[in-house]
Symmetry: C2
Amino acid sequence: MGASTKQGYEIAKKSRQIVKSLIDEKTINLTDDEKSIVERIVHSTADPEYAELVNMSSNFVEMSLKSLKNNEDIITDITMVKSGITTYGGSVNCYINENEVKKIAQKYEITRAAAGIQYAANNGFEGIIVIGNAPTALYKTIELIKKDEINVKSIIGVPVGFVGAADSKNALTNINIPNITTKGPKGGTPVAVATINSLIRISKIGQE
Amino acid sequence: MGASTKQGYEIAKKSRQIVKSLIDEKTINLTDDEKSIVERIVHSTADPEYAELVNMSSNFVEMSLKSLKNNEDIITDITMVKSGITTYGGSVNCYINENEVKKIAQKYEITRAAAGIQYAANNGFEGIIVIGNAPTALYKTIELIKKDEINVKSIIGVPVGFVGAADSKNALTNINIPNITTKGPKGGTPVAVATINSLIRISKIGQE
C-alpha cells in the first residue's frame, strides 16, 4: 500500500491481514476490487466502521478504472487530498488557491472549495472528482452535473463534518453518476486518498 | 477554523457548536486551549471518540506555543500532513522525498518516513515534530531524543494503523518531551493537522 522500503512493506502486509480479519464478513457481497478499496480505507483510518459506512454504485470501479486508464484529469477539493495522490500518470489538480477561484468565491459567496469545482467546469474538466473535505464542493459538483455543465466520469464524494456532509452525500447517491460515498458525518482526506490510490493501483497492475 | 468565505465561516461556526455539545462533558478537565485542540480534532474527523482518545502532557500547549511564537521549524512525517499546514510564519518541511532520505532508508532498511526524521536530526533541526501517519517515524524520533541527537520542543504523535501505531504512541508517553497523542490504532493526518493548526491559531490570536 504505497510502501517502498522493506520495513514499510512488512508493516503494510501485516496491517492488511489484520484489516481483512476485521472486515471480511462485512464485505462478503463486494467484488474483489471493491474489497480492495474498502480494505485500504480501513487500513488508512484504523477505523473498521468504514466497512459499514462505505457505499459504491455498481459501476463505480469500472467507470473509474476506464477514466484512469485514459489518464484523464483528477481534481480534488483541497490540497491535502491532492498531495496524497502521488503515483498517477495523468494530472492531479486542486484549484482552491487560484486567484480566479478566490474571485469566484467572493462574487458568489461560496466556499473556495466549491468555487474550485466551478473553475474546473469553466475550463473544460473531464475526469474524476475527489472530495475529501468540503460538502459545498460536492453540492457544487452535483449542481453542475444536473445542469450538464461538467463532464464527470466518477465521484469520490466523502466530505467530513457535522454540517452538510451527510446531506451532501445523500444527494450524491440520488444522481446517476458512478460514485463512492460514506454514510453519516464521517469521511475525510484519508478515505478519499485511500480510495483513489487503490483505484490507481488496480488500474496499473490489476488486483491489489 | 480556516474558513475564509462567508459560507465557510457559517459552516465552521455551526459545526463548532455541534462539536461542543458532543464533547463538553468529556473535556471538562482540560484548559481552554486544550479544549480548542480537541474540538478542532473532532470537527476535522467528525469522530467524537477522539475526545476520549486524545492525551496531552501538561506542558504540551505551553511548550508548543513557545516554539511557534519563535517561528521555529515544523517537520512532518508525510507530505499530506505538511500540505495541511498553510498559515505558519516559520518553515514547514517534510523530507520524505529527498534523495538523501531515500539513501538513508535503503542503507538502514527503515521507512522513508523514519529516514526523514534522521535527516532532520543530521541537519540541526530544532522545533516541533508532527507525525500523522508513520509509527516508524515516531519510534525514530523517540530513539533520537533518547540519544540526545535531536532538539525537539514538542511532538504531535498521532500515527494511525493496526501495526505499531498504538505501541509507538505508548512509547511516546514514556519519554519526557511535551506531547499529544491518541490511544489505540486511531489517529492520522486530519488529527495531526487539526492539532498543529489549532496551536498556530492560538499562537497568533490567543484563544480560538
